[in-house]
């Protein structure tokens, strides 16, 4: 039930007076109610929970996270290895 995964909104339509959308989850398309994310636009990613979109994925925040993750590699490199005792090269291998 709480295994909400992100999907891409590909179409917006109306059903029974509600804003609805078709969501593409990497090839599987399902519908979701968009009443709780009224500002969403086609092409944006959303978190859907039991048939309701509850959030629009913030792509800028996601990009900032990825940037922060890259900084961990510098810290790990200062230590010289990973948890298995292996040397970490630039790719983290």
């Amino acid at each position: 039930m709480c295994l909400a995964i992100p999907g891409k909104l590909i179409e917006i339509y109306e059903e029974a007076g509600m804003k609805m959308g078709r969501i593409d989850y990497g090839g599987t398309v399902n519908r979701a109610c968009l009443e709780y994310v009224p500002e969403i636009e086609a092409g944006q990613y959303t978190v859907v929970h039991a048939g309701f979109a509850i959030a629009i994925i913030d792509e800028e925040e996601a990009a900032r996270s990825f940037e922060a993750w890259r900084e961990y590699s510098d810290a790990a490199a200062r230590e010289g290895g990973d948890v298995y005792g292996n040397h970490l090269d630039e790719d983290g291998d």
């Binding site: 978190v47 994925i57 970490l88």
Partner: protein
């Protein structure tokens, strides 16, 4: 897949793991509250690669698992009525009641339909005006907006044959109860990212301040969880106890305000019994009086039920994070997914089912 594969990349996980290892100087116990996180942790083996100082314990964040046995029995009683079409998420069908589950009731003739969303139950009500359609509205703060919308739509569309059997539970009172109990061992929490997406973070700030525990709103993918653990450990090592947000792509400080407003319009906070834990004050939701016509518990009077929990099942202590599934004498023997003694073995978010499913990989 965008916004999925990035959060499952093992290279990133190893880098964060190295950072956790670098900063950890003392033993810490961290609880992940959400059952979806529990499954991701056990499936990806995060608990096995963390430094030995870090213990992860699994929390009560599986709504199927904490739905009280009386509610399951009540659902079965309502589903058995000939005029009723009973609609439920699939997870609930095999949760053991006192002497049977909903699936058994279906094989005995109950008209039971598995739905993915409460809106599907509304459609069934529209298509069957001569039948009573009851939706089993369970869950944490994440499913409450959908269940509220179904009631609002039923009213708007004049669907008098639709009602909900409600069993909604709230996360912050459960964390508070665990922290207040004398046997609390937990130093920091990974809060459930999707719950926080709806509710926001303010309630957690009160808890972090009062009990001096770090709480990090965390997503459900392996690298989300690894980063959430890193953020909790960093706070613990630095002596901080704050609310932080790892799941920034989805969680905003005030949550989803529109969803919260709909929930507040339809539901009100009430005391709630949690299976395996007991009654917790102000830890659930019930339908407000104004919408009482949509409350299946009021529409279908069910007499008091004698409930019967299997004595051997330790799911209560598992839900409190005091024991792990493989410490149960019935785990994998008397209790298996095809013959569950407790709800934690049934649900796709239950800790016992996660251990059973991924045990061969461990």
């Amino acid at each position: 897949m965008k916004f999925l594969s990035e959060y499952r990349d093992p290279k990133t996980a190893r880098l964060m793991l190295a950072e956790i290892r670098r900063i950890t100087t003392r033993p810490w116990v961290i609880m992940e509250v959400c059952g979806g996180q529990t499954h991701a942790i056990v499936r990806s083996g995060i608990d096995q690669v963390l430094p030995k100082e870090i213990s992860l314990v699994h929390g009560p964040g599986c709504p199927v698992c904490v739905t009280p046995i009386e509610t399951i029995d009540r659902a079965i009683e309502i589903a058995r009525r000939p005029e009723v079409i009973f609609c439920s998420f699939g997870d609930m069908l095999r949760v053991p009641g006192s002497d049977k589950d909903l699936l058994t009731a279906r094989s005995a003739g109950a008209d039971l339909r598995m739905v993915y969303s409460p809106l599907e139950a509304l459609e069934i009500a529209r298509d069957n005006p001569d039948r009573q359609v009851v939706f089993f509205a369970i869950g944490f703060e994440t499913t409450a907006p959908g269940n509220a919308m179904a009631v609002l739509q039923a009213e708007k569309q004049g669907l008098e044959n639709f009602s909900e059997l409600v069993c909604h539970v709230l996360v912050p009172p459960a964390i508070t109860a665990l922290l207040s109990s004398g046997d609390n061992l937990v130093n920091g929490y990974l809060a459930a990212g999707n719950v926080c997406t709806v509710t926001g973070l303010s309630e957690y700030e009160e808890i972090a301040g009062k009990y001096r525990v770090p709480i990090v709103a965390t997503g459900l993918e392996p690298n989300d969880i690894m980063e959430g653990i890193l953020m909790v450990v960093r706070q613990l090592e630095e002596g901080r106890a704050e609310v932080e947000n790892q799941y920034v792509r989805s969680v905003r400080y005030h949550g989803n305000v529109k969803a919260r407003e709909a929930v507040a319009e339809v539901f009100e906070v009430t005391d709630q019994k949690w299976r395996g834990i007991g009654e917790l004050p102000a830890s659930g939701l019930r339908i407000r009086n104004r919408f009482k016509d949509y409350d299946a518990a009021r529409r279908f009077a069910v007499c008091d039920l004698d409930v019967n929990e299997p004595e051997v099942c330790i799911s209560g202590t598992i839900l409190k994070g005091l024991k792990k599934p493989d410490q149960c004498p019935a785990f994998g023997t008397e209790c298996r997914p095809e013959h569950p003694l407790g709800a934690t073995m049934v649900s796709s978010e239950g800790a016992c089912s996660a251990y059973y499913k991924y045990k061969p990989l461990r």
